[in-house]
């Protein structure tokens, strides 16, 4: 990490109006703010790494304000890009003040998805000096033929929260846009604003004009005061399993009461609903406590954010939806319920409290079970040591590149060589092979299939010089309707009451709704609701009373444990001296494990097998995160099936994978052979609903299928096709198609996380320690308690599930319990003007369900599990 650089004062003098403004407020620009100004004035780009509250935003805009104060002029001077629409709007408000107070003649405007058509047109005709926008809106701007003129005089690009964008598909999109801007406005300097991040080199590369970090000055603000963090444990034995942390509700409530304003961070939306409900049960003082998560209606979220900004809330229970964004000075405590999952993530969340960087942020961690306690302790050590974790950015997605290629051609003809040179100046694509690029261009041109059947439907054509042109202006309009890299899960609106009058509470996964029967109750938006019926795309509900509600769970909601934190947990398990600081029951648990079996080592892979309840259990202590364990479970059960061990199911946590089988698994080391990633993986990929979902995202982003149609639905003709069907056909006839390559690249990470499985298997080769035990080991108890609660899957796939459902149905019929015949239907309509299948398909592709993902424990958690338990503060181990 670079040292803070004190800027030579003569290099960065402030123009008089700005200097006077600082003086009137009794402020001095911080050295890092001056350093950014000095770099920009010298025509160099700068990456500012600063903790929250260090005046990052002002640092980013100081060069612009100074330049325009000295030389006021019309035209677009500075482009600001933020990952959040709300942040762009908030920054605009914050900038207006110094501009007005210093009497500067600077115009600024916001352009996001919420900006109306008239303002958009005006912004292109008479651009403001400063335009604040998002990656999507920038991509859209760059697709217009007049973009070269619009950006010709651009002097500065400010990229905010760059650490949150780099390494994501939105980041890929932004990097490509930056490369485009590098061509249109080669003189513009770039200023990147980031939280303290583990990979500053990657961020500098992301920001730089050549994608390799050249010419980017790293500026680090002095670190803020060290955060004051403690861990709270429930009194009595620490739970073995469970993730909700509801036992701590009373302790959390007391903390809220003792502070001005608290953010209670949880890991999933389901947990948010449950913790919120638990807090309100205790809320005798009627403290203003709110709820904030990504499924809630936008209005609802904005209301909460506004109340927060006005300092009216004592607490808000939030998911990662509040990880980033607007600064709330009032927040003086952050509570993290459940495991933090990563050191950087924990720091980010803690930083939401107390935005004065010279005062410590206060935070309390509330682990929900034993493994989470170990994780909390390790995360705390990491914070103390100033460690940061997170993975370096993967190569950019080919689907995003396809979208960008089309967008670039929409703006005007371009030669592929020129475009290739340009996109390889974007950091995520700097090592892009020409073959991949050419395949992407061919995909955009005519689908890029080996069978060249679509010559007449080409989207692009090449002129005599080989430049790419748009074949049809309608394609540009369709592209603009479908821009963006966020593919949302199919969602249904949740409304209270019937018809048009009902209030919209938010949106819920279609999949969850398909599991509800009318009359079922569920927790949503902090209320207990009864599901009445599904009408069109609306889930109609009424207020309910009672117990045992379901909770909408979201399969992808949990972030996996970082490799860094996992390694620390392994080290803690090995280091008996550090156990002294643990609660007695936890230390005793580890000691018992040491004697009965052994503890997972830092470099080996401990696998235990033991019989229990007429089955054999295989427990692997991989510590690779839940997603990787799920994938490993799918692959391992396939191998066990072939080896004749008759696997019956498996369950994965962040720490371990447990598989149970009818026969004793032998030759365990062979089971974990890397060859698992060959045929087994291919077979699994063919029918995995996760892979199909990944493919759907790729297909939407690349523009193979559209999420929004240009009046397509009107014709009543089927205009889309289910991407699962495309996946099957493409895999069969063109397994190396560029979109399947993009799908496999995505599967290496995220929900499938094959990459982490592969690394683990390679590392464990020759180091598998098999303990054949006569009974369950102490360390295996937590995962065994998850059996029956967590999603249980077998490697056999959907046909096995169908067979099971059929058998259950037969049994019900035999017992006379089967459903009565359907109610008397309406009379058959004589004529059907619109083919129902077409309607359904139009609807379905707009609202794709993520097939076959089951609810986790959360789905059945009940309010009864909330018990008022006394909490005690844990003395931390030194």
């Amino acid at each position: 990490m670079p040292e803070p650089i004190p800027a030579p004062p003569d290099l960065a003098p402030l123009p008089a109006p700005l200097a006077a403004w600082f003086a009137r407020r009794g402020w001095q620009p911080h050295p890092h703010q001056r350093a950014v100004l000095a770099a920009a004035r010298a025509g160099r780009s700068a990456l500012l790494l600063a903790p929250t509250g260090a005046g990052k935003t002002l640092a980013g805009f100081l060069p612009t304000l100074a330049d325009l104060a000295e030389t006021p002029r019309p035209g677009l001077h500075t482009l600001y890009v933020s990952p959040l629409k709300a942040l762009a709007a908030d920054i605009a408000r914050n900038l207006e003040r110094p501009i007005a107070e210093a009497g500067l003649a600077i115009t600024l405007d916001v352009r996001t998805g919420d900006t109306d058509q008239a303002s958009r047109r005006r912004q292109r005709e008479a651009p403001p000096n400063i335009l604040l926008t998002t990656p999507e809106s920038l991509a859209l701007l760059l697709s217009f033929p007049d973009s070269a003129r619009l950006f010709a005089d651009l002097r500065t690009v400010v990229v905010d929260e760059i650490h949150a964008l780099a390494g994501t598909k939105r980041g890929d999109q932004l990097a490509l846009c930056l490369a485009r801007l590098g061509t249109l406005a080669p003189g513009a300097v770039r200023i990147g604003l980031s939280a303290t991040a583990p990979w500053p080199d990657h961020l500098a590369a992301f920001l730089s004009a050549d994608g390799r970090g050249t010419g980017v000055e790293r500026i680090a603000a002095p670190p803020g005061a060290a955060p004051a963090i403690e861990i709270r444990l429930p009194e009595g034995p620490l739970p073995w399993s469970g993730h909700m942390g509801l036992m701590a509700a009373e302790a959390i409530y007391r903390l809220i009461r003792a502070h001005r304003s608290t953010i209670v961070f949880v890991n999933t939306r389901a947990q948010a609903e449950l913790v919120f409900a638990a807090l309100w049960r205790l809320n005798d003082d009627a403290l203003p406590i709110a709820l904030h998560h990504g499924s809630l209606a936008r209005d609802q979220r904005l209301k909460v954010e506004a109340a927060m900004a006005r300092g009216e809330l004592r607490a808000v229970v939030a998911t990662s939806s509040l990880d980033l964004g607007i600064d709330w000075g009032e927040v003086d405590l952050v509570v993290q319920v459940g495991a933090p999952k990563g050191v950087s993530r924990l720091l980010q969340r803690i930083g939401r409290a107390n935005h004065r960087w010279d005062e410590p942020s206060r935070a309390v961690l509330v682990p929900a079970n034993r493994f989470e306690l170990l994780e909390c302790l390790c995360a705390l050590d990491g914070v103390r040591e100033g460690a940061l974790d997170g993975d370096p950015s993967p190569p950019g997605g080919l689907d995003v590149l396809a979208q960008h290629v089309m967008g670039t051609v929409c703006a005007g003809p371009i030669h592929p060589d020129e475009l290739y040179a340009e996109v390889t100046r974007a950091a995520p694509y700097r090592d892009l092979a020409r073959r991949d690029f050419d395949d992407v261009v061919r995909f955009v041109e005519d689908g890029g299939y080996a069978l060249s059947a679509y010559e007449r439907y080409r989207r692009l054509f090449r002129d005599a010089e080989g430049r790419l042109h748009l074949a049809d202006e309608r394609a540009a309009r369709r592209w603009r309707l479908n821009i963006g890299t966020i593919v949302e899960a199919p969602l249904l609106k949740v409304k209270l009451g019937r018809g048009f009058g009902g209030a919209t509470l938010g949106e819920i996964e279609e999949y969850f709704v398909s599991l509800l029967n009318p009359g079922d109750t569920f927790l949503f938006a902090g209320r207990l609701l009864r599901f009445d019926r599904l009408r069109e795309t609306v889930v109609e509900c009424s207020p309910a009373h009672g117990d045992d509600p379901k909770v909408p769970a979201y399969a992808g909601g949990r972030l996996p444990l970082t490799t860094y934190l996992a390694d620390r947990v392994r080290a803690l398990l090995q280091d008996r001296r550090r156990w002294q600081g643990l609660p007695a029951d936890v230390a005793e648990w580890l000691e018992l494990q040491r004697r009965r079996s052994r503890l997972p080592g830092p470099a080996d892979l401990l696998v235990e097998t033991f019989p229990r309840g007429g089955r054999w259990f295989l427990v692997a202590y991989c510590f690779e995160g839940r997603n990787a364990h799920q994938t490993l479970g799918m692959l391992l059960t396939r191998r066990m099936e072939r080896a004749g061990f008759r696997p019956l199911g498996f369950v994965a946590t962040d720490y371990v994978l447990a598989v149970w089988s009818a026969a004793e698994p032998r030759d365990v080391a062979r089971l974990f052979d890397e060859e698992m990633l060959g045929e087994d993986l291919e077979e699994w990929m063919a029918e995995s609903s996760l892979l199909k979902r990944t493919f759907r995202h790729v297909a939407v982003i690349a523009g193979l299928v559209e999420r929004n149609h240009l009046g397509g639905a009107k014709t009543g003709r089927q205009v889309t096709v289910n991407t699962d069907l495309i996946y099957d056909v493409l895999r069969k006839y063109e397994p190396d198609h560029v979109l399947l390559r993009a799908t496999r690249a995505d599967a290496a990470r995220g929900l499938v996380d094959v990459g982490r499985v592969a690394l683990m298997l390679r590392r464990a080769r020759g180091r598998i320690v098999h303990m054949a035990l006569s009974r369950v080991s102490p360390l295996a108890v937590p995962v065994l308690l998850e059996v029956g609660k967590e999603h249980v899957a077998t490697g056999e796939g959907q046909d096995a599930l169908l067979a099971e459902a059929e058998a259950a149905q037969l049994l019900a019929e035999a017992r006379g319990e089967a459903d009565p015949p359907a109610v008397t239907p309406p009379p058959l309509r004589a004529e059907r003007p619109v083919h129902p299948v077409h309607r359904a398909n139009v609807a379905r592709d707009r609202k794709r369900r993520p097939g076959g993902i089951a609810l986790g424990t959360q789905g059945r958690a009940t309010l009864r599990t909330i018990r008022s338990r006394r909490q005690a503060s844990l003395p931390l181990p030194e």
Binding site: V721, L802, A805, T824, R839, A843
Partner: protein, 227 residues
């Protein structure tokens, strides 16, 4: 591949998990809604989906014809996605169709997407047609039935047959054909006394009462029915 028997007006019919109906007594194979050249129809609208759907559909069809060796192959309409579909068919696919017609006598029924050589085929006591009319003894397609079941919190949806003692609905056979929820009134109203659905599996069918089907929840379908 294990076919499941159903009885319709005393006739024994075999439902094949590939989505075909086999009438052993008449050596007749019936298949609905091939929607050939749907891929190119989408491509013409700018959606360049893989152009292999006709090939995939015809390969599966050829496999079935080789397996059952029918005297007669009835294609129950919507064999092409649109009236111009046949003209777009590639050379290899034309040859595949020609080869098929050398193996069996093909009857193309008219669909609502394409013209055929016949509106319906009477093969007493049964009648084969594209759009079901609610008459007793009919075998029809058109509706693309698809059903979902939930089990242990998981959700599985498949194209399916729908059958009672009076009629059989065939699933759509084409590689790119979607499905309509069997709970939709368009299907349910054909079976006022309930029916069984037979979900297509890899090697066999999975049978449930129609009433046990979970929602496919394609709710926008209803939203647009008024349009």
């Amino acid at each position: 591949m294990t076919a499941a028997p159903v009885h319709l007006l005393g006739e024994r019919l075999m439902l094949d998990p590939a989505g075909a109906l086999w009438w052993p007594a008449r050596r007749l194979l019936a298949i609905a809604d091939l929607h050939l050249e749907k891929g190119s129809a989408l491509a013409a609208r700018g959606s360049l989906v893989p152009p292999y759907d006709s090939r995939a559909t015809l390969e599966r069809l050829t496999r079935l014809v080789r397996l059952y060796r029918p005297e007669r192959l009835l294609l129950l309409g919507d064999s092409f996605h649109d009236p111009k579909g046949a003209a777009r068919l590639g050379a290899a696919e034309r040859e595949a169709l020609a080869a098929l017609s050398r193996l069996t006598a093909i009857t193309w029924l008219a669909g609502n997407h394409d013209p055929g050589t016949a509106e319906e085929v009477h093969e007493p006591p049964l009648t084969f047609r594209h759009v079901p009319r609610g008459e007793t003894g009919e075998v029809a397609g058109h509706l693309h039935p698809k059903a979902a079941v939930t089990v242990r919190g998981a959700w599985v949806a498949r194209p399916c047959f729908v059958a009672d003692s009076r009629r059989v609905l065939l699933p759509a056979f084409g590689a790119y054909t979607g499905g309509l929820d069997v709970r939709d009134p368009a299907i349910r109203s054909l079976f006022p006394r309930g029916a069984r659905v037979f979900l297509l599996g890899k090697d066999r069918l999975f049978s449930f009462p129609l009433a046990a089907a979970a929602p496919l929840s394609e709710p926008a379908a209803k939203a647009m029915s008024g349009a």
